[in-house]
């Protein structure tokens, strides 16, 4: 998985460098669900913010990188309501395809995410429990870009990323849906 992700990243980067035309920066943020029902029952859903940098490699194709952060959830867990924290963040490399029509540009985005998740529990009079791991997963997104000015646009995006990781005796999905809005600029 890691090897293939790395290969895709190299491929996208190569394409971007070779055919770069415009560079865009945007920041999107919004609501993020937590797929695993057990964990969602404990921590609930949350919010993320995602700065993005992308290059147009053709009129309708872009490659880019984004970093999603902000999903930090505190909750009491277990029999003793111990304070605990769940953090999920990660960088994504993506390929985005979209056709602009007037000021509107719907697009689709696929990519690979390199996530870091961290889970820790503070127990009274006992050592804290901590998990910190990385994992790779795919993301898929769709959105609409609305061009406000020549070099300024607004974006709304619906993104899904799965993140299956090992729990104690099974796997849990730390991924989820994101409903994001943001604003960007062409450079």
């Amino acid at each position: 998985m890691r090897k293939s992700a790395f290969f895709i990243v190299l491929l996208l980067a190569g394409m971007g460098i070779a055919q770069a035309q415009t560079l865009e920066v945007d920041v999107i943020g919004g609501y993020r669900t937590l797929k695993d029902t057990t964990l969602r029952g404990i921590y609930g859903n949350g919010y993320v913010v995602t700065p993005t940098l992308s290059l147009a490699v053709s009129k309708s194709l872009r490659i880019g990188a984004e970093y999603e952060t902000g999903f930090i959830r505190d909750a009491e867990i277990g029999m003793f309501d111990d304070p605990s924290t769940l953090k999920v963040r990660g960088g994504h490399l993506f390929l985005q395809y979209g056709q602009r029509k007037n000021r509107i540009q719907p697009y689709l985005k696929v990519g690979v995410g390199m996530f870091t998740y961290q889970f820790d529990v503070v127990r009274a009079d006992l050592p804290a429990l901590e998990v910190k791991n990385d994992d790779v997963s795919f993301i898929i997104a769709g959105g609409i870009r609305f061009v406000i000015l020549k070099n300024m646009f607004a974006t709304t995006e619906f993104k899904y990323g799965a993140l299956w990781v090992d729990s104690y005796d099974d796997k849990v999905d730390l991924g989820g849906l994101r409903l994001l809005v943001g604003i960007g600029f062409g450079i």
Binding site: I77, M79, R123, L126, Y168, V172
Partner: protein
Amino acid sequence: MDIRMRGILAVFATAGIVGFSSAGGAGQMRAILVPPNPDYLRALASSATPLPSPHDLSSLLKSAPYTDETLPSTYDLRGEYRVTGVRNQDPILNCTIFGLYGSLESTFKPLVTEDFSEKHLDESTENSGILEANIGSLASWADPVNESDVPWEGGGSGGIVWPAVKHVQNVVFLPPRTGSLDNDRIKRAVIDLGAVHAEMNFNRDLLYAVYNSYNGVSAGTGIQGVAIVGWDDNFSLAKFSPQPAGDGAFLCKNSLGGNFGDAGYFWVSYYDASLGRNSLSAVLTAEPAAGLTQNYQYDPVGCTARLGFDAETAWFANQFVSVSADPLAAVSFYSYAATGYYRVFIYANTTPGLPRSGTLVSEFTGVLNAPGYATVRLPESVPMAVNERFSVVVRLRTPGDLFPVPLEHPIEGFIADFKAAPNQSFISADGNAWSDLVTVQGTAYAKTNVCLKAFAGYPPVYPPASLIVGREVNDLVFFKEYVDKISWVAHPSNTETIAAYRIYRKVEGAGNETYEFLAEVGASDFVYYVRGLTEDSAYVYRVTAVTDSGREGDPAEASD
């Protein structure tokens, strides 16, 4: 150790009428030593063990028949969680102590579960096949100790002096059954107190395995101690081989392991020729060791004989010198009558040899409603000073029994270090003219003391009741934390306010000296969680109650 037989030639050499002068020369008293129990003599001659009571029980046999119409037709202590586990006496055949502890442990249930060391009791007396000797050890606070400290299959106490973990303060004697249907005393005791220790002739080969039933036809001295834990009046005679004359059987707990009978239990016909017929049956009850602190006594061997003055009433006394400032709280003595009427006097600052000298600091009366060993509490504790000589004087009337004075007295077949000294025990026919036992009739009573104890201390502090340890899993999604949940309830018998509970833990299988303090919780907390355990960890826990005066009670023990 089992009895080493010495023959019976000199048995009860002092039996018969003994005349002696009062210590003060105030007149003659005619004291009579109780005759020996013929069954004891027969058993002694035949080298049988265990042995029945060494002193005559005819006064008890003359008791009025006891019937109780309110008793149910069937009863089983197991259904009320009032029995402890089945033990296995192999490889040593000494069943009396197993029957006794089957009784004693049962009386703590269901609130507290105990497992006492038969091995230690066996070591405590050379006469562990005699009920009175075992009661002597227990009443002297030499026993019981924990099985985990001195296990049956271990090497013994190893020279360590293990303190008694409970104080046996009362033993109810049940007279021998006079007939196959003379069972109501036993039944009532089972319901009211717990399992009843009884002895019977027993041959494992005669167990009728189809129904786990037993009907012995051989009378005589019992050779197996069992604990009666229930009965069934309708247990069919057809289920026995040989068939008895009628239905009905006692449910008995044996000490031959769980593979014997029905998981260690078997049914003994009411018509069995020996169960509870030739010797005293008994129920033992005990208090927490945290309570009475000092046992003033001259009778660690036990009550081996009695004497009287050809009357149902007699006086006896002991003088003690206090070794602590704990207040005097109770006295104990034996009675071998169905009912005993007593008056107790406590004198402080007495003169040696004069039990009723000094200051009368307490006087009270009472009634013993059953034969046996009884502890009676003083109405109010008597303050004591260290090195203070005090007397306990008892006037006891035992209707139907002419030998009210319980004695620790050397008798044949009873191997023990009998010893006595002047200014310890005294007897009197009228409470006025007193005789020091060791100074009368030459050497007849030179090693004899009165079985009369005094206890200093405080109200008992009972352990938490219904202590349970359960292993639970704390699911933290990415971790599983193993947790022991310790729960208990307040013991209903505590009379002092409980201020806190303390929790201790040791690794399962480790010595009791390795218990470590874990926590102290409030008096209203009845659950404690031990966290951070691993899946294969195994611990034993103790929980104690602490009074608001700071006294810590006996522990209750449970494992995960």
